[in-house]
């Protein structure tokens, strides 16, 4: 074995630092048209009038597309996972966020395309917009989504649930209950390369799609679904991306560019401006998390109640998936035998939020770890000792009933302590991740221990 473990240079490093990497926007082909989109100027409005005839008549304009040009306008990216579709590719009779695409123009150059967008006649009837997800269940909620204030399709529930153990008994038994609220903000993905696509209609009838997607086959599936085409009529070319961080799973530019290319019968490029990238592309979601922990005075966490609200923005996109992943990790790197978790996907009139590095878990790590430090402070305990005590150990069962076979909470905490010469008593310094026994197996943790022969393939069902 030679290559694995070696500090080999990245294959694309030289091309990147010498400016020779070819991104989608570097590709120019003969007869290529340029794209601009008409986007909603309102957070929430009905579209009462639309007329693109002046735009279509402008010299240099080769195609204008609206929702009427999309074979399947409403397609959910996660329909395969049972998450129904709710978002139109191009708005039909209403808009639900500022920046929502309504129509797109392909023209000989970007200035002409921009001028054409301004010539589209459109009128709106503004509606009340909604932004504070904590008020989503208030009687005054202004109807903004056909499904209601929250995503309603977690089986029979309108929220993702985790239930394990007897949480009421844990709170009864606790010496102290520590409650806190954690609210991480939305942030931008900020790729250096904005969303860009180049679609070339081939003489064979196929479309070649140069894409900055993070997920070629996934994005090809999205385009094929909207066009109602088989996969053999599409070729995605990609694999070189100027930063994604989750935002380039959205397939935000490929489908509309393909529709324009088909209508104009010409190659079409759409490159978003930096302003569009900031204002109309999706963000990381804002979250609202409330944690209450039932703890003993010597630092055991007996139980946790948690309420999570996830700001999905105007449409569901990947949010129901993100909240499920979040739910699975709401006890962090620790073993808490009694839990009660409810997570809601809440609709607001902001740009739909999407995946971003750490999707679903970055938020819960912030909440759980901030809370852990607060619990330590309230109890007057050392923050490392409380972590080492409650750390995941072999044979522990997670909130979603996975039996852990190689957790390393203990190893990483001790390695960090080592690196900063942290003062820890010997009994903590000698801890390992081995199966609980003795002082590390207090009565409240006995029941959650997996049998010796249990596999990791879930245990609690």
């Amino acid at each position: 074995m030679k290559a694995v473990g070696a500090r080999l240079p990245r294959y694309d490093g030289v091309a990147h630092v010498t400016g020779r990497t070819q991104y989608v926007d570097d590709i120019r082909v003969r007869g290529m048209l340029w794209t601009k989109a008409l986007r909603s100027p309102h957070h929430h409005a009905a579209i009462t009038h639309f007329d693109a005839s002046k735009a279509e008549a402008l010299p240099g304009v080769r195609a204008v597309v609206t929702h009427e040009d999309v074979p399947k306008n409403v397609y959910g990216h996660l329909e395969a996972l049972g998450i129904p579709a709710d978002e139109p590719l191009l708005a039909v009779d209403e808009v639900r966020f500022k920046g929502q695409p309504i129509a797109a123009v392909a023209a000989d150059d970007e200035d002409t395309a921009r001028e054409a967008v301004e010539l589209i006649e459109i009128e709106f009837d503004e509606r009340p917009a909604f932004f504070d997800m904590r008020k989503a269940m208030d009687p005054e909620w202004p109807k903004i989504h056909q499904w209601g204030p929250v995503y309603p399709h977690y089986g029979p529930y309108n929220h993702r649930r985790v239930r394990k153990g007897d949480v009421d008994a844990a709170f009864e038994q606790a010496d102290t209950i520590v409650e806190g609220v954690y609210r991480p903000q939305a942030i931008e993905h900020c790729p250096i390369e904005p969303q860009t696509a180049l679609v070339i209609p081939e003489p064979s009838g196929r479309l070649t799609i140069h894409s900055c997607t993070q997920a070629m086959y996934f994005s090809m599936g999205v385009v094929a679904a909207h066009l109602e085409w088989p996969l053999n009529k599409l070729k995605f070319v990609g694999g070189t991306v100027g930063g994604g961080f989750g935002g380039k799973v959205d397939t935000a530019s490929e489908t509309i560019s393909a529709l324009l290319a088909l209508k104009a019968k010409r190659p079409v490029k759409w490159r978003w401006t930096r302003e569009e990238e900031f204002l109309a592309s999706s963000t990381r979601a804002p979250w609202h998390m409330e944690i209450a922990d039932a703890v003993t005075s010597d630092g055991w966490i007996l139980g946790r109640r948690m309420l999570t609200l996830h700001d999905a923005g105007a449409y569901a996109r990947f949010s129901p998936y993100g909240v499920t992943k979040h739910a699975f990790h709401h006890t962090g790197a620790y073993t808490i035998p009694n839990v009660h978790f409810d997570g809601f996907v809440v609709f607001t009139n902001r740009v739909p939020t999407t995946a971003m590095r750490g999707f679903g878990v970055t938020s819960v790590s912030f909440a759980v770890e901030s809370h852990m430090n607060r619990v330590a402070q309230v109890l007057g305990m050392d923050p490392l000792q409380i972590r080492l005590k409650n750390a995941n150990r072999i044979g522990d069962t997670t909130a979603n009933r996975v039996v852990l076979k190689d957790p390393s909470t203990v190893q990483v905490v001790l390695a960090a302590a080592d690196r900063v010469n942290y003062d820890l008593p010997a009994e903590y310094r000698s801890m390992t991740n081995e199966k609980r026994s003795g002082d590390l197996l207090p009565e409240h943790l006995v029941g959650q221990l997996a049998a010796d022969d249990a596999t990791t393939n879930g245990g609690g069902r």
Binding site: D12, K135, V178, E179, R357, V420
Partner: protein
């Protein structure tokens, strides 16, 4: 008015591979007539280094030098399915697909070499581009000669395909339990943040981050460090600087350009101490668990608790901008105590902010 030092810690875990699984990656390998290798994957390298990592995995699985391998991940005509570069799945799932494909091609190499050497395949091994008889190192044939024999003598193409897929893991809507592990592996990390807080301006400077990651196996330690350090800067942005909506939940005053939206820059770079732990996974390629996304998760809470250590206030609305730090210092809010309950942040809760006491979000068990 003074500057105060503080230290905070966070410990995190992260599931690699797509949550609930069901996300295939596939790869295929073919040998040129001179033994050089073409590998085809659909995995997008968006900076994380998957293409380099996959090439390393292919090289060692086949037993050929790294520079014999050409990796093509450029298009969907020549490459098979990869659902995508998300969910920290490139090294584990994409890497396994490459490994499985290379193992199949390796078997074909041994079959052809067996005919040429007249030694059973099970008595052969591959190292450094040569097929060698176990226990008789002078009886060997180079892979270039094996590939040539396949092409010109036997009329065969040495190839291999591989697919990595963990089946979809259903989740109970009633209690959140799963039937099978909903992840590929769980990686763990700890982060210690040393900060300096200016109690006059509210500015927080992260001076040092000590970060420990258990990645199972570092296929390429330089690229793992790249993830740790790049992730550290993203985590610093999350914890201190970045916000799409400066007055969230209100939607106005969004930054529409760099400069109006504050992402971390080199001047924010703290001292970084990286520690890589290798506690191998059973199923990952060469024991890898992966790192990927988790690299920006531990810094924000470590920074928040370092701020508390420095100036005695909790900033729980992230990021800890100067404005939020100063407001927290002004308020110096103590938790409310009610019997054994210690209640922080009551003014932020659903119960307080909604007009109906949080009805609909609370008491979901009816």
């Amino acid at each position: 008015m003074a500057k105060h030092k503080g230290r905070g810690i966070a410990t995190i875990e992260y599931p690699t591979g797509m949550n609930q699984n069901g996300d295939p990656s596939q790869a295929w390998v073919k040998l040129k007539p001179d033994g050089r290798v073409d590998v085809f994957t659909g995995t997008v390298d968006h900076g994380q280094g998957s293409r380099t990592v996959h090439t390393q995995i292919a090289a060692d699985t086949l037993g050929v030098p790294y520079d014999w391998i050409t990796m093509d991940n450029t298009n969907t005509d020549s490459s098979a399915v990869c659902t995508g570069s998300f969910a920290s799945r490139g090294t584990f799932i994409g890497g396994n697909a490459v490994r499985f494909a290379a193992e199949k091609a390796r078997e074909r190499i041994l079959d052809i070499a067996s005919k040429e050497l007249e030694i059973a395949p099970s008595d052969l091994e591959i190292a450094d581009g040569e097929v060698v008889a176990k226990g008789a190192p002078d009886r060997k044939i180079g892979i270039p000669e094996v590939a040539a024999a396949a092409t010109w003598t036997y009329g065969e193409l040495i190839t291999g395909t591989g697919a990595a897929l963990k089946p979809f893991s259903d989740v109970s809507d009633d209690d959140g339990s799963v039937e099978i592990e909903p992840h590929s592996a769980i990686s763990y990390a700890a982060c210690v943040a040393d900060v300096e807080v200016d109690d006059e301006t509210g500015e927080v400077r992260v001076e040092r981050l000590i970060q420990v990651y258990d990645v199972g196996r570092a296929i390429n330690p330089t690229l793992v460090e790249g993830q740790i350090e790049g992730g550290a800067m993203m985590g610093l942005g999350l914890g201190l600087l970045e916000q799409a909506y400066p007055y969230y939940p209100e939607p106005e005053h969004r930054g529409r350009e760099f400069g109006a939206y504050l992402a971390p820059a080199l001047e924010d770079l703290p001292q970084l101490d990286n520690v890589i732990i290798e506690s191998p996974s059973e199923d990952g390629p060469f024991g890898a668990k992966a790192i990927g996304e988790m690299a920006n998760n531990a810094q924000p809470p470590a920074i928040a608790s370092a701020i508390y250590d420095a100036v005695g206030v909790w900033v729980t609305e992230m990021p800890a901008t100067p404005e939020r730090v100063l407001r927290a210092l002004d308020a110096k809010q103590e938790p409310r105590r009610d019997g054994k309950r210690v209640i922080f942040d009551e003014e932020l809760s659903v119960r307080t902010v909604s007009s109906n006491g949080g009805k609909g979000f609370l008491e979901t068990d009816g």
